[in-house]
């Protein structure tokens, strides 16, 4: 169990992933579902960025010409997470627009109520 104490960022991100996952599955309200989805995404980004950190490394911006690798943190995860954050925002915006359209027609945010109303309309 030694590593859990050292890798505390990764364990925190795993717990957040679990919370977001639980939110996504159990929440009835659609907006809460998508907040849980956002928490899940940020948890994965925390995991990825924490993997890039190096003790004693500074931000990957070259300071007065030192280009020795041990001075800086690993830039690759930072790049990936930057892309990921903007993907998460655009997907949240798309899903919230979907939620608005659902509310306009069904008047409710509860997924079970929506499913029941849809079935009634079908028959």
């Amino acid at each position: 169990m030694g590593n859990l104490g050292v890798n505390f960022y990764e364990s925190a991100s795993v717990i957040l992933f679990g919370i977001g996952f639980m939110n996504l599955l159990l929440q009835k309200n659609l907006i809460k579902k998508f907040i849980g989805l956002n928490i899940m995404d940020t948890a994965v980004f925390l995991f990825l960025a924490a993997k890039g950190f190096v003790f004693g490394g500074s931000a990957p911006i070259i300071v007065d010409g030192i280009t020795d690798a041990s001075y800086y943190v690993n830039p690759v995860p930072a790049g990936l997470v930057l892309t990921g954050i903007v993907v998460a925002v655009s997907v949240t915006a798309f899903s919230l627009a979907l939620v608005q359209r659902l509310y306009q027609h069904y008047g409710s945010l509860n997924m079970d109520v929506i499913m029941r109303k849809m079935k009634e309309e079908e028959h």
Binding site: L16, I31, I39, F53, A59, V81, V86, V99, Y103
Partner: protein, 84 residues
């Protein structure tokens, strides 16, 4: 010193994540989610990734919350009652 700050921030992060899923009131959930994103922005700083902290601060607190508030306004729930 840095370790303690990081542990405190992570505890706040997990508490606000649990807070979001527990609150009945949608309006409160979005505000707590704003807090969650701002803590996240600070954590990116401690992880030596300044690009991420600027983006997370601008995106998480700025745009995401605006979208959620506008959806709540559209859903006439700005009063924050949990609707059926």
């Amino acid at each position: 010193m840095r370790e303690t700050i990081q542990v405190i921030l992570i505890v706040f992060l997990i508490l606000s994540a649990i807070g979001v899923s527990v609150t009945k009131n949608l309006f409160m959930a979005v505000i707590v989610f704003m807090g969650y994103s701002s803590i996240m922005a600070v954590i990116w700083l401690l992880l030596e990734a300044p690009d991420l902290s600027i983006t997370q601060a601008a995106v998480g607190v700025g745009v995401d919350s605006i979208l959620f508030f506008l959806t709540l306004k559209k859903i006439h729930q700005i009063k924050g009652t949990e609707e059926g």
